[in-house]
């Protein structure tokens, strides 16, 4: 909630971390980095206090960072910051059986993976590590590709707590 101090504390580092993004976006992301709890927008999760480790393994990156490769179309709070992981829900929530789908490239093997962004439901917003990336995101008339919907459907409660990013397979190269 206190974007300015965060901006000052993290400005340079934040810019560096987001250098893969367009320049003005990097600036904006830093601007509102501290507003993660309240602003449902932009790629700003910054759970990790340290630089994400780009390990040379099969699933590189920091699941509490919005830059993690699986999060290319995520919109919401990262479950890895909320008591869950990148693929599992926090205690006391329920995973939505239906959801939207993204296709993200894994830098480890340079393959495109199909990612299922299942929401965890039944509690209100976790509030930590808000992350919004819209690569491949489509308007609401194409719901299976739209992150604008709350996908807490088919669960006991429609309240949205956080989002997972589950690998469901490799996309066929086209």
């Amino acid at each position: 909630m206190k974007w300015l101090d965060d901006m000052m504390e993290q400005g340079a580092r934040g810019l560096a971390r987001r250098s893969s993004r367009r320049s003005f976006m990097a600036r904006l992301a830093v601007l509102i980095a501290g507003g993660a709890a309240s602003v449902p927008l932009l790629p700003v999760a910054r759970g990790s206090e340290h630089e994400p480790e780009i390990a040379l393994d099969a699933d590189p990156g920091d699941p509490t960072s919005c830059e993690y490769w699986r999060y290319c179309a995520v919109d919401g709070f990262l479950c890895a910051c909320c008591g869950g992981t990148q693929s599992s829900c926090p205690p006391g929530t329920q995973m939505s059986p239906v959801t939207w789908i993204g296709t993200c490239r894994n830098p480890a093997d340079d393959q495109d993976y199909i990612i299922s962004y299942n929401d965890c439901c039944g509690k209100s917003a976790c509030g930590a590590c808000n992350c919004n990336r819209n690569e491949g995101d489509m308007p609401i008339y194409r719901p299976q590709l739209s992150n604008a919907y709350n996908w807490c459907l088919g669960t006991d409660s429609a309240f949205y707590n956080c989002s997972t990013s589950r690998v469901i397979g490799v996309a066929r190269k086209s």
Partner: protein, 383 residues
């Protein structure tokens, strides 16, 4: 300051003090608002994203200098409520969702009707479908029909449908499936259209009881893969101007019973290649027939919700850009007041404040902050 702490003291009211004493204030006085709200009042509809059970819609006067004069009142709403206001009755409508145990238990979708004069509920209609779509706030999820007789609410379960409410009789008229088609674009006197996943429009005209009198489906008129239309058009004289991801515009005339789809044109020119529309509510319109769009440079895949660095103003009939208004702070959503001469542009910034610009000059007039907002993502000018 000096004071006396004993409660007993409170009982010892002075009986015969000097005439200069302040008179007692009345008990139970409650403010009211005018039936027609001035043109520079707005409704800042704040769904309070991280505390979404406790949404608030603030009524604010953009002409006032201090919070005491700016803040006119508020109404609560629950769980990403949809908001719409009537123009022919002093009424506001909020479609909201409650659970019997806050975030758990039994779900209940309700349309609540508020009186603009008292900001108190006048009544409610239960939305039996209980499938109201929860989407980041925008203008096309709940609408009044052209004659303001019906209220239409978009549902998603993930089956797509529309709940139909008699706005005058305050009763539910049922639910109409709209398979594969989303959003509500009022059409003709008492109809609506929806954008479909194949790039076509579905249209239904309703009778007074909310039943389908006629329906139609357009040809496919845009490419949902390579240049999808944003579902958030500017509305001018019954025509909707839909921006596309790539910066084109498709006009659709919804004034008759059957939409008439026009020829696409581009928001861009040679000097602005790479700019794209983007944001959460990226379009608006004024009473002079101008279209406003939030624009960002270096656009590309995934930037269609990025905040705008500028607002571009168009004459959509002449397909001419009239102005580029640079924003002091990047903006996610825009709205305009309803007046023609002194129209104000309201921008929800990435800081979640409201920046108010003179729409004609682009001059920043003031910033509204600390009015209790959390995420005032969508703003409505008073109608």
């Amino acid at each position: 300051m000096s004071f006396s702490r004993a409660f007993a003291t409170a009982l010892l009211l002075a009986a015969g003090s000097a005439v200069a004493d302040l008179p007692p204030d009345k008990m139970g006085e409650i403010g009211t608002l005018p039936e027609t709200w001035p043109p520079h009042w707005i409704i800042a509809h704040d769904v309070s994203y991280s505390h979404i059970r406790d949404g608030k819609s603030f009524v604010l006067d953009l002409d006032a200098d201090s919070i005491g004069q700016q803040f006119k009142g508020m109404v609560n709403s629950s769980f990403a409520a949809n908001f719409v206001q009537a123009t022919t009755r002093p009424e506001l409508y909020l479609a909201e969702t409650f659970y019997s145990r806050g975030t758990r238990g039994e779900r209940l979708d309700v349309l609540t009707i508020y009186d603009k004069r008292t900001l108190a509920p006048l009544g409610e209609v239960i939305l039996e479908a209980n499938q109201r779509a929860f989407i980041i706030p925008q203008r096309n999820l709940m609408k009044l029909t052209g004659d303001e007789s019906l209220i239409l609410v978009y549902n998603f379960s993930p089956a797509m449908s529309v709940s139909i409410v008699d706005a005058v009789g305050r009763k539910s008229l049922g639910t109409l499936p709209t398979p594969g088609c989303a959003g509500i674009f009022p059409t003709g006197t008492r109809g609506f259209s929806a954008l479909c996943g194949d790039g076509s429009l579905y249209t239904a005209n309703l009778d007074k009881s909310g039943k389908v009198a006629s329906s139609s489906r357009s040809d496919v008129f845009f490419d949902v893969q390579d240049d999808p239309l944003m579902e958030q058009p500017a509305w001018i004289d019954g025509r909707a101007y839909f921006p596309s991801y790539q910066g084109n515009v498709v006009p659709v005339d919804f004034s008759g019973d059957k939409p008439v789809i026009g020829e696409p044109w581009s928001l861009l020119d040679d000097d602005t290649a790479g700019w794209r529309p983007g944001g959460l509510v990226p379009t608006a319109e004024d009473a002079n027939g101008r279209m406003y769009v939030t624009m960002h440079p270096e656009g590309g895949d995934g930037t269609h919700k990025d905040p705008g660095l500028e607002v571009w103003v168009f004459d959509p009939v002449k397909q001419e850009r009239l102005a580029r208004l640079p924003l002091q702070v990047p903006g996610l959503s825009i709205a305009l007041t309803r007046d023609k001469e002194q129209s104000l542009l309201i921008v929800t910034t990435v800081e979640m404040k409201l920046d108010v610009y003179d729409a004609a000059s682009g001059e920043l007039r003031r910033t509204l902050d600390n009015f209790g907002q959390l995420t005032p993502i969508i703003v409505f000018g008073a109608r």
